[in-house]
Subunit: 76 residues, 2 copies
DNA sequence: GTGTGACTCCAAGTCCGTC
DNA sequence: GGACGGACTTGGAGTCACA
């Protein structure tokens, strides 16, 4: 299920994710492939519609070459 | 269900959490109350047996007066 | 290349308890 | 105060088709 009531924390995380992804010049599709995730799932993360767990954050962080902590900078 | 195969990322997070909690001088029970979480759940987090979501991290971070990013420092 | 709704499956998170 | 377990409900993980 998607997060209907989008929380600002998830929006902020999604923006961070999108920024990091673009910096490295990947498409959602390419990132999804490298993170071994579905591209629709990655898209949902960027739009703040998902509330991922630490382990999911870890899978996303690795191909972006950032830490989980960096992905969550400014999240409150 | 509890996480049987404890991942090092979750162990690291659990240690961070325990350190922050003790610094502020709260019991697991008191923290759970302030975070509006179950006391058994907070214990499980500290032991690295749980894989929390961003929103759960946020609830824990608030009473500890730290950021989610700080809670996940060193997690990889 | 991305957004979105709908779906299944199983883990996140709750609530009770004992030691 | 903290570790741990059983049983339960909710919601995240993961996937697909189609726009």
């Amino acid at each position: 299920m998607r997060v209907d009531n989008k929380h600002s924390a998830l929006i902020t995380f999604g923006e961070n994710l999108r920024n990091f992804r673009k910096e490295i010049g990947l498409s959602q599709e390419e990132l999804a492939l490298q993170a071994d995730l579905d591209r629709a799932y990655v898209g949902g993360l960027e739009r703040g519609e998902r509330n991922p767990t630490i382990m999911s954050l870890l899978r996303i962080a690795k191909p972006l070459e950032v830490t989980v902590s960096e992905l969550l900078e400014g999240v409150k």
